[in-house]
Symmetry: C2
Subunit: 238 residues, 2 copies
Amino acid sequence: MHFNIFRMRIKKDIISCRTCVYRQLLFGDLNDIEYGLINEGRTEMLFKRGETIKHEGEAIQSFLYLRSGLVKLYKTDKTGKDHILSINKPGDFVSLLSIFSGNTYRYSITAIEDTLVCDVNLEVLKYLVSTNGNLSLRLLNRMSKTSDEIIDNQFELAQKQVKGRVAHLLLFFANQIYRKNSFNLPLTRREIGELISITTENTIRTLSEFRKDGIIDMDGRKLMILDKDRLDIINKGG
Amino acid sequence: MHFNIFRMRIKKDIISCRTCVYRQLLFGDLNDIEYGLINEGRTEMLFKRGETIKHEGEAIQSFLYLRSGLVKLYKTDKTGKDHILSINKPGDFVSLLSIFSGNTYRYSITAIEDTLVCDVNLEVLKYLVSTNGNLSLRLLNRMSKTSDEIIDNQFELAQKQVKGRVAHLLLFFANQIYRKNSFNLPLTRREIGELISITTENTIRTLSEFRKDGIIDMDGRKLMILDKDRLDIINKGG
DNA sequence: TTTTATATATGCTATAAATCATTTAAATTT
DNA sequence: AAATTTAAATGATTTATAGCATATATAAAA
């Protein structure tokens, strides 16, 4: 559970949608009027690592997308334990799975690295969807892929046991997120466990074992993959 | 794994979209031209229990919705084991999670009861989405809810152990699917395991235990819930 | 700086659930 | 109707992993 204090800083209109690198990726081709609508009332918010951007159950008033940083989407169960659904990276539409089905968030969103979020009026998006067919298809595609990723991940994890899951997690960060073999783990050992459904102890134990076996090297959060081939084999269940 | 022979019978235009009970539910208000497009080239297909409607990886050429019956959506892993993602019932848009993200099915679909499926041209749907804003919002809403259901279900299961999962499954059929306490289980013990991620043996053992404890009564596939309160408690982890 | 809390690290133990083995029953197929 | 396959049922055994205990290190707060 996270009871972080909001210390976001609002940076209004530092970059217009017109010059945003994610513009095309997110919305495709929009006309000037449409961009104007998006830009209007738009805010940019900076969150420090550990700060919660949205709490599960909170009313949805805007749609969010990540400009930089990294966040986790997670749900908290009755016993207070968090279950991480996915890690979202720049360009991701972090509220996409919630905004069209209800009026509250179905998961919490917390920054796991310093994160810059764009916050745009939701009614504007809904208006644009209802008048722009290409945007609709684009969003249906994005939502479908977002959902696929979560489902596929669950499917993958269900077939692996502890070592395979940890290997999978390390390869995910190396290949999907950082695109290099050396990086700072953005998650604590506990959070890794919450993401791959194992205990904190087993996460720690397995990482230690990987180090002893010369597969990785670690120094606190700093992690380096030394033998990616073996990690691949372990990931595939070897 | 399922290698069933296709023995579907095609019943063309027995019911028009105009009189279909799911029309409004699925598409909202469409005009005559739009209904005409949907009806054109539409086929209805009947599948017997056990027959596979679509195989994972198969090209998507149409969109499907369930008129009657029950199906399972599932993925097969490298070892040949099936993992059931969800059970779909009449009114469900069984291909929704696949049609907007790629051109092949991301899961297989098999009838677990005799099932009537409507098969409609996909290009027509995409055309309607791109020209009808209400329909777009409606589909975004449906897709979001479909995805939520699968994700929430995984979240629920992750917190339960064997007995809780079996209880959860029985309550799902009683409350969500059949809306009565006595029904024929549409899944084998093995399939139940594939849906709630436990072994066949544990499914059988747990059902036997529930019977011994007077919580349920069974005769093969026929199942009757005798003590729903206890089942609720077990489901909640008691 | 000192205190407090949180994260990392390992060993030991308990246990839930998978695996293996075997039997009976019910469907399919020939 | 006989043969074969698949499903259901239980007992015994193994194993992976959770749970518990405790120590150290690191980070946050007083």
